[in-house]
């Protein structure tokens, strides 16, 4: 072959090769770009998927917490009676209360009176059937005290029954009874010994119920609501003041167990 012709053929072949090379290089570039984009897209989607999954988990957790709270709250009202039987019983008791009120109306009228529940250690002030207020009190703690020297015995019980407020006093002196000395294991002084008079032991006021029983104050208000006295009825200072100022002499007092 002539050199000129050969040269042309080589040139043509080179051009063909260059064309193929350029085509393939372009194709490679295109796919490489696609690969890069696909990788970026995949990374983005994976990150978004991760975020969404976390959000979803948080939402599910919150929903579970709400469900648990709802379930707990739905259980709460069941602490209180729900059945209609409770209401029927209440209605029956209410009717009995009405019947009792009717029976007692003539005996009590609308008068002010004190009721002491010695079992519950509560004092109620009532006007007729209306409860004005109630307070914790302390009644006789029970038990027996024996003085071996004289043979005397005392039972520290608040008696049940109907009393009246016979008198009232402010800043009362306590004439210490024999049992107080026996309890303290001290010799009993004569009845009219001035040493028997103690100031401040009975609180600021007293209401005398007769037969040695009083409504008075206490130095230890923490035990109100529990039987703690030697037979008297102890009240807190504020309630005692209120009672002293409210009830006149002659007021009826009912004490029961």
């Amino acid at each position: 072959m002539e050199p000129a012709l050969l040269k042309r053929a080589y040139s043509l072949l080179l051009l063909v090769w260059l064309g193929v090379f350029a085509w393939k290089a372009g194709e490679l570039t295109v796919w490489t770009t696609r690969l890069v984009r696909a990788t970026e897209s995949l990374d983005g989607s994976a990150a978004a998927l991760d975020r969404t999954a976390r959000d979803n988990a948080a939402v599910v957790k919150a929903a579970k917490a709400d469900s648990a709270e709802l379930e707990f709250l739905q259980g709460l009202p069941n602490l209180l009676p729900q059945d209609k039987g409770y209401l029927r019983t209440q209605k029956a008791i209410s009717e009995e209360v009405q019947a009792l009120r009717h029976k007692l109306a003539g005996r009590l009228g609308g008068a002010l009176h004190i009721v002491i529940d010695a079992k519950a250690n509560k004092l109620y002030l009532k006007k007729g059937f209306k409860l004005l207020w109630s307070a914790d009190c302390s009644v006789g703690r029970g038990g027996l005290l024996v003085d071996k020297r004289t043979g005397q015995r005392w039972q520290f019980v608040t008696p049940r029954g109907e009393f009246r407020v016979l008198s009232k006093a402010e800043s009362p002196l306590w004439r210490k009874p024999d049992w107080a000395y026996v309890e303290e294991k001290q010799p009993i002084p004569p009845p009219d010994d001035p040493a028997r008079l103690v100031q401040g032991e009975l609180g600021a006021y007293l209401l005398n119920l007769g037969d040695g029983y009083l409504i008075h104050g206490t130095k230890n208000e923490a035990v109100l609501g529990h039987p703690a006295s030697h037979g008297c009825v102890r009240l807190g200072a504020d309630d005692l003041k209120k009672l002293y100022e409210t009830v006149p002499v002659g007021t009826r007092v009912f004490i029961f167990y």
């Binding site: 939402v59 209440q90 059937f129 020297r149």
Partner: protein, 254 residues
């Protein structure tokens, strides 16, 4: 660079084969790279499409869950509001019930105190614990109200218990001033006429009647001025326990 010279050098038969092989090799390498990259790119694209789809599903699920959470939160909020009202209402009901029961207890006990009385039937020689017209308990008495210790004033037909002593107290005792000092001997139960006469479970009435258990010493019982109905210890104990301060005592005879 002189292209003509380069072409000439390449066209030499010895080198032509190498050049052609090199050219073909380059093209083949390119083709291999293309195939490899294309395969990876297609796989990545497929993965990306799947991931996109999964993301769509997850987003939809998240949206649904968020809506459900919102509904649940509203439910919870509404329930809490209703619960507050419901609890207040139930509490009122419960406290109302307690108040009724408390009042029932107070009225019932007051009614018992007011309507309980002791009925002494002289002819039948019985004492009954009465509530209204009903005898709750009836016991025999030793004798109808009888005077002791020179008591002259008979008990009235209607009286009431004014004082109760679980153990009859001895007399109070008197103090004396000796050399300017108060002196006294505390009362002794063993030598007390009062304590020995009345014994235990003593109920004093407004009148001369004293209801009590057996005397500790008969002679002192005979000497103590009062009216008595001769109760046994068990009956005296029972009546002491069941009666109240203020309990009325009715004495009946034909």
């Amino acid at each position: 660079m002189n292209i003509d010279k380069t072409l000439e050098r390449c066209a030499r038969p010895a080198r032509a084969a190498w050049v052609a092989a090199a050219g073909l090799g380059v093209i083949l390498a390119l083709q291999t790279a293309i195939v490899w990259v294309r395969a990876r790119a297609e796989r990545r694209l497929a993965d990306a499409a799947s991931a996109e789809e999964a993301l769509d599903d997850a987003s939809m699920a998240l949206s649904e869950n968020a809506s459900l959470l919102d509904l649940r939160a509203k439910d919870l909020s509404r329930f809490k509001n209703d619960l507050s009202k419901l609890t207040r209402s139930r509490r009122a009901l419960y406290e109302g019930g307690l108040q009724i029961q408390e009042e029932f207890r107070l009225l019932q006990k007051q009614w018992e105190i007011m309507t309980t009385y002791l009925l002494i039937d002289e002819d039948a020689r019985k004492i009954s614990l009465m509530r209204g017209e009903q005898a709750l308990e009836t016991y025999a008495i030793g004798y109808p109200p009888e005077a002791f210790g020179g008591e002259t004033k008979p008990p009235p037909p209607l009286s009431a218990i004014v004082s109760k002593e679980r153990f009859a107290h001895p007399e109070r005792g008197k103090s004396e001033t000796v050399d300017g000092q108060l002196q006294w001997e505390p009362p002794q139960v063993g030598t007390s006429v009062r304590a020995n006469a009345l014994g235990e479970f003593v109920m004093f009435t407004k009148g001369s009647l004293v209801i009590h258990g057996p005397a500790k010493k008969t002679a002192e019982h005979l000497a103590f001025p009062h009216y008595c109905i001769g109760l046994s210890l068990s009956v005296a104990r029972r009546l002491y326990q069941l009666s109240y301060m203020g309990t009325k005592i009715k004495i009946v005879k034909k």
